[in-house]
């Protein structure tokens, strides 16, 4: 669909959703280049309301039909999660509307507020420099831990998030996660991958007991956090959240997967500070053995993600060459998992 055509349709949609708006127009329309999962547009809408000029920033996520992870999450679920988080201390974008009708833009879409700030990419040279400087200033590392603690301290039942599914006590959470990612692998019709099979079997045989259940983002890292004035203005990319073991998020923060050689966790926070401040804010004691297990699970997840991505390209469902590139990342992450398991 041509950009101008989409903009016209979005303008008409917003005008219908804001009945008091007159002469609604869109401005500063940008399709962001980042992200594999949804087509993302950010823009301003300007209109007149009772003679007063109004202007508001929006972000629209569109399911193009070939989104990565679209079978694991849905925009409707994201909408429900964001709505549930709205009255809580968890920093998240305000969700306005979910539109299931694919006839409007070619797929379901979600409209939410455009958050002030930027999700600085930690993998770029500029991003690394940004986070290293922010770490020196000290405000952002604190905010990074505080936002995670807000997530884990949330009364998820009171917030109505139990619709996400509540694992049974014990090993159920880890086993459910493994099953979820195994489904993604199975749907990718990939070549047999014996190293991945060994990793999955080990994970199933060694699943830890969750000591406590919390609302878990499951991809908590820089790049998935909007930053404004050295503080987390919103946690974004609500695609994989679950009710589960909070050590799942902690493991990801502690992981080497997120820092590409930086001595700082997630390129922004010192390890000792993170551990001390997180434990102080949550009252939890970090279970390093469980974290080691979940880090291997994240490696399996990453392999599954790359297999799914390259599968989309191989099946001709996407022509994005970034997806083809990911097939060469699978052995690298499997090597990390194998080394973690001692071979």
């Amino acid at each position: 669909m041509a950009a101008e055509n989409i903009q016209n349709k979005v303008a008409a949609y917003l005008a219908a959703r804001i009945p008091s708006a007159r002469d609604l127009t869109l401005a500063d329309w940008v399709q962001t280049a980042v992200g594999y999962s949804h087509v993302i547009y950010v823009f301003d809408a300007a209109w007149s309301e009772n003679g007063r000029p109004m202007r508001r920033g929006f972000c629209l996520r569109l399911d193009s039909g070939t989104s990565l992870l679209r079978d694991l999450s849905s925009l409707e679920e994201q909408f429900r999660v964001l709505k549930a988080l709205e009255p809580t201390p968890v920093p998240a974008p305000k969700a306005y509307w979910f539109e299931p009708d694919p006839s409007l833009l070619g797929g379901p879409f979600l409209v939410m507020e455009r958050i002030a700030g930027e999700a600085v990419n930690p993998w770029s040279r500029a991003g690394k420099q940004f986070y290293a400087a922010a770490a020196q200033r000290g405000k952002l590392p604190r905010s990074f831990v505080e936002a995670l603690a807000a997530l884990h301290n949330l009364d998820w039942r009171a917030a109505g998030l139990d619709f996400l599914g509540v694992p049974a006590p014990g090993r159920d959470f880890a086993l459910r996660e493994i099953a979820k990612w195994e489904r993604l692998i199975a749907e990718s019709h990939h070549q047999p991958e014996p190293v991945l099979t060994e990793v999955i079997q080990w994970l199933k045989s060694n699943a830890p007991q969750a000591q406590r259940l919390a609302f878990v983002h499951a991809a908590y890292r820089t790049g998935n956090l909007m930053i404004n004035d050295d503080a987390i203005s919103a946690i974004i990319d609500w695609e994989l959240q679950v009710i589960g073991d909070p050590m799942y998020d902690v493991a990801y923060v502690l992981s080497d997967l997120n820092r590409e050689g930086s001595p700082l966790l997630s390129c922004v926070v010192e390890r000792d500070f993170f551990i001390d401040y997180y434990q102080k804010l949550t009252g939890l004691t970090i279970d390093f053995e469980a974290c080691r297990y979940y880090q291997i699970l994240y490696m399996m997840r990453t392999a599954a993600f790359w297999i799914s991505a390259s599968g989309l390209f191989a099946e001709g469902r996407s022509r994005d060459l970034r997806l083809a590139r990911t097939t060469f990342s699978v052995p690298v992450v499997l090597d990390m998992a194998a080394r973690a398991l001692g071979f």
């Binding site: 014996p194 045989s205 060459l321 970034r322 590139r325 052995p331 071979f343």
Partner: protein, 133 residues
């Protein structure tokens, strides 16, 4: 006919020095440069595939033969000269399913043999995947 490696190198060079720089739109520009990266991988795959095919097959066959010599594993790891990656996946799953019946020592022996073979297979894949230009 131009050898494949040489042809791919030429395309990579063209993408990097001619096509990519000439594109002003960020998305198609990034696609052109990403195509160059991928073609370099493909060139190395072409170089390695013929050499890699036989060692991978031999590694899996040798593993099956090794496991077939462990009495407790013989029933599900018969000496299989044509074993492939799919059969190795199935073997790994069967070993874990029989873990309790095998006992810790036998399982560890079999699992160590599997992991040694997996390391050899992985190292072969990494020759291509780790040599990004």
């Amino acid at each position: 006919m131009i050898p494949p490696r040489q042809l791919l190198n030429a395309i990579v060079d063209s993408l990097r020095t001619v096509i990519g720089p000439a594109i002003s739109e960020p998305y198609p520009k990034s696609q052109a440069f990403m195509a160059a990266v991928i073609l370099e991988f493909v060139a190395r795959q072409i170089d390695d595939d013929r050499a890699a095919a036989d060692p991978a097959h031999a590694t899996i066959a040798a593993l099956f033969a090794e496991l077939a010599r462990i009495p407790e594993c013989r029933s599900f790891a018969t000496d299989h000269p044509d074993a492939d990656a799919a059969q190795l996946c199935a073997l790994i799953e069967r070993l874990y399913a029989a873990r309790d019946a095998l006992g810790p020592e036998t399982f560890a022996t079999a699992n160590n043999a599997v992991r040694a073979a997996l390391r050899r297979l992985l190292d072969q894949d990494l020759k291509v995947a780790r040599s990004e230009g």
